[in-house]
Amino acid sequence: MGAITLGHYVGLAVVLFFIGTVGVLGRKNALIVFMSIELQLNAVNLAFAAFARAHLKMDAHALVFFVIAVAAVEAAVGLAILVSIFRRRETVDLDDMTALNE
């Protein structure tokens, strides 16, 4: 095992990002899709932290702070939307939500 470089961190971030992507694209359950998006955002945060470390600048830390806050808002709003749909439709299956098409 060699030294851990920036590349490792960024690579990991990318891998995590795309694991999240798999969830976003591949799961029918909207809740899991939401979580996947959170995972994606987190992966990007990891990249930011790594780059901040590389550049030894902390503005990225502030940015990560913002992202975390935004992620929280997104989660709240997304879940609110989901709940409002669930109230009428009793489902969180994305494949059922295709009334709007063509």
Partner: protein, 164 residues
């Protein structure tokens, strides 16, 4: 030491990430997500991002995941609800394929990174130092985040509140 820790945390985050997107039951997913987030928090610490480490645990693993779990509980999906939403091999496989391809492509783009050997400046990543940025040049951003949070609250109220 450091590489080992990195690989452990990396492995943990990847594995729990994979688990998070593959579970049928969203509760299991949420749990796996929490573990992944904690693992990333560990990586933050390794990157000398001490404040972020704290925030990650508190806000992400704490607040957000709890919110998700809360909603999962509220929706209270039984197995008969979840069954139709289990992984469909074709769809999931295609998604994985596309993602893997994109992932590979992206990795190709980001080769040849510098090492992280440069020593950190004193106080790097600590709350006080980050605050200097946050309440210095980034103050406006901070305010905007406040606005976004306000919007989030409004949104939650508008969307999820029952008809009066």
């Amino acid at each position: 030491m450091e590489p080992t820790l990195f690989w452990i945390l990396a492995g943990l985050s990847v594995v729990s990430g994979v688990i998070a997107v593959t579970r049928r039951n969203p509760l299991s997913s949420a749990l796996a997500l929490a573990i992944a987030l904690v693992a990333v928090a560990g990586l933050f610490a390794m990157l000398d991002a001490h404040l972020l480490f704290i925030l990650q645990i508190l806000v992400y693993a704490g607040a957000i995941v709890v919110l998700i779990v809360f909603v999962i509980m509220m929706l209270n999906l039984g197995p008969e609800d979840l069954e139709p939403m289990r992984i469909q091999p074709l769809k999931f496989g295609l998604a994985a394929l596309v993602s893997a391809a994109a992932c590979g492509g992206t990795l190709l783009w980001i080769r040849d990174m510098p090492s992280l050997s440069a020593p950190v400046t004193p106080g790097f990543g600590t709350a006080s130092e980050v605050s200097k940025v946050l309440f210095g040049p980034m103050l406006l951003g901070f305010e905007i985040v406040g606005l976004i949070l306000l919007v989030g609250i409004l949104g939650a109220v508008v969307l999820a509140k029952k008809e009066d």
